[in-house]
């Protein structure tokens, strides 16, 4: 199981990339009620039967590892959110895309710590692929709110596959996070 809430997001975005999405929207929202994570994409989507399989830990999409018997990204998130008394929702339309949302209540001792958002965003931006990533961040305690787009950052900082580009973006994101 993942140690921090933002770790789950990485798994979700990988799913979106594998679903062939050209636009992935990520939201990390810390409110007084708790932490909400949301990932939506315009990938291939799933029908009801595929959706049920996606939540089964002993099933995997299988494209990458045909013989593999487990797929833990979504099942882990669902388990963690429900264990903490929060919410887990997934909606998907074949051909249109998928939306996953999880909420971890601040009042529950079983909610994982949020984790390092800057590190998460740097990792997401370093992922292979041409798709556009839109990252939204909100923090109610000090009114922090920002949105960054992968295309804008790549244009300003250079190739995000290189360590130099990522390192510049890291500084940029850290300054956003400090508010």
């Amino acid at each position: 199981m993942h140690a921090s809430a933002v770790d789950f997001v990485l798994d979700l975005v990988q799913n979106s990339v594998e679903a062939g999405a050209s636009l992935i929207d990520v939201e990390i929202d810390e409110s007084t009620e708790g932490v909400t994570l949301q990932v939506s994409d315009n990938g291939c989507g799933m029908d009801a039967a595929q959706l049920a399989r996606a939540l089964d830990p002993f099933r995997s999409g299988g494209a990458k590892h045909p013989s593999r018997k487990v797929g833990l990204g979504l099942p882990f998130l669902k388990q963690a959110a429900e264990l903490a008394g929060g919410e887990f929702r997934i909606e998907s339309v074949p051909g249109r895309g998928t939306m996953v949302r999880a909420m971890f209540p601040a009042s529950s001792v079983d909610s994982p710590p949020l984790g390092d958002v800057t590190t998460l965003f740097v990792t997401l931006l370093g992922m292979v692929g041409e798709c556009e990533l839109v990252l939204h961040r909100k923090r109610a305690s000090d009114g922090l709110s920002y949105t960054v787009r992968k295309s804008e950052l790549a244009e300003a900082a250079g190739d995000l596959a290189t360590a130099s580009g990522l390192s510049l973006v890291r500084q940029f994101l850290a300054s956003q996070e400090e508010g």
């Binding site: 199981m1 993942h2 140690a3 933002v6 770790d7 990485l10 798994d11 990988q14 990458k64 590892h65 013989s67 593999r68 833990l72 990204g73 882990f76 390092d116 590190t119 998460l120 740097v122 990792t123 370093g126 992922m127 292979v128 920002y146 804008e152 950052l153 300003a156 900082a157 250079g158 596959a161 290189t162 360590a163 130099s164 990522l166 390192s167 510049l168 973006v169 890291r170 500084q171 940029f172 850290a174 300054s175 956003q176 400090e178 508010g179």
Partner: protein, 131 residues
């Protein structure tokens, strides 16, 4: 630090560009691949990825290095795993590279051109390799 704007980010890039250009003529000849499957993420691969990027910048290797992510390499028991492909060095998959070891890995393998002992796992698990 005040919130940086995209213009400031662009300016920062330009200010570093001169030193980068010097290195970029050599091309990007180093590849670092971090295993970012569910197992890797749970073991802290995100911190490893971040640590590697920071260490490359610190040791002036950022301009010639491509940092990539991949899924599970089948070595879940020694995550986080990192594969390093560099000229004049064997291709190595390192295991148990937590964030705090990221800089040591960069220094040993890419600066001192030696291997990081006790972390070498050589190649991916058999079910990952294409027959």
């Amino acid at each position: 630090m005040a919130k940086m704007t995209l213009e400031q980010l662009r300016a920062l890039r330009d200010s570093k560009k001169q030193e980068l250009d010097k290195r970029e003529v050599e091309g990007k000849d180093i590849q670092i691949i971090v295993g970012m499957g569910t197992c890797g993420i749970a073991a802290g691969a995100k911190q490893t990825f971040d640590g590697i990027v920071a260490a490359l910048e610190k040791h002036n290797l950022a301009g010639r290095t491509v940092v990539r992510q991949t899924g599970c390499m089948g070595l879940c028991y020694v995550e986080p795993t990192v594969e390093v492909i560099a000229p004049d060095m064997p291709n190595v998959i390192y295991g148990k590279i937590t964030g705090d070891l990221a800089e040591e890995l960069v220094v040993k393998h890419l600066v001192e051109h030696t291997l990081l002992e006790n972390h070498i796992y050589d190649k991916p698990a058999v079910d990952i390799v294409k027959k």
